[in-house]
Amino acid sequence: MWQELRAELHPLGLEVVTVGLDTAGAEACRPFIEAAQPSHPSLTDQQHAVAELFGVINIPNGVWIDENGIIVRPAETAPAPRREERAAAGDMGELPERMVEIFTEAQKIRSDPQAYEAALRDWVANGADSPFALSPAEVIERSQPRDDEAARGQAHFELATHLHAVGKHDAGVEHFRAAHELVPTNFSYKRQAWSLEPGPDGPLQRFWQGPSEGADWPYAGDWLTDVREFGAENYYAEWRP
């Protein structure tokens, strides 16, 4: 989704680096990366290092780093550029009820890809003179809140991903639950955990993120319940230029 924009802006000094966040590992990211055929670095992040280091709490998230290695915009929602009209929901008759409900909620999620793309272009053209390139003090101030509770939540999440990755899924679940309790607004912690539970076979499995027949659901919430409670319109914080 970024490939076209990258091709245009790369000669002007921009590089895009995509990071696939998935405890399920590189193989889960592979089909998407190979389909995109990117010419830019495309990495996988099984341990969610970008969460610890940059404060990524949901996806897609973007961070801007200047030529001197200084962050000029901390992790924030980075909607992918829209190159064609978003496809209408189309015929959802074939989908399980839950997926219909998920898509319906997802339609209410708000973001502003045009504003983000315009800001990015402005920065590429104007560098430090761009109003969208923030001062170090602003970058720090705007970075995700992280108090001791949130920091502990991050430690639990990291332990959970490690446990899942070494085959101790049930032990991992306990630590995912702790992370959810400590940082309830972190949808990345939730969606990652939910996506690792059983769901219907096929391409929708990772998106089911909720109870399914024949399996115990080990989490307090699930995608539909939590998004409805949080409000789909609040899913991404409003972008602050």
């Binding site: 990071v19 780093i65 980075a78 809140p145 108090d147 430690a155 990291e158 998106f207």
Partner: protein
Amino acid sequence: MIVTTPEITRAEFERGTGWQLRPEGACRGDVCIPIADAAGDSVDVVATADAMGLPVVRHEGLTAVGPWGGSGRTLVTAEAPELTLLDLGGNEFRLSSLRGKKVLLVAWAPY
């Protein structure tokens, strides 16, 4: 950072947490947290983490040391930390290799 032994080298601690251990304490950007015996070659992970106020979560033989929540913000400095991750070919890529370019780092997920 996940560790499996009570002590690790100073280099491992610094790489894993992003904090430099100096005589004046544990330092990152403009922040230094004063801790005793910060400059030894071998680091007692839990004691050092506790002294810094880093969260420690354990499961059997594993110890997870979390980030610092002392400032109330994720970033302590605007200097981008080093990020070392693998591409699909298993090759290591370092964010610092892009010095000299503007970088847009985008996190996504297949779920």
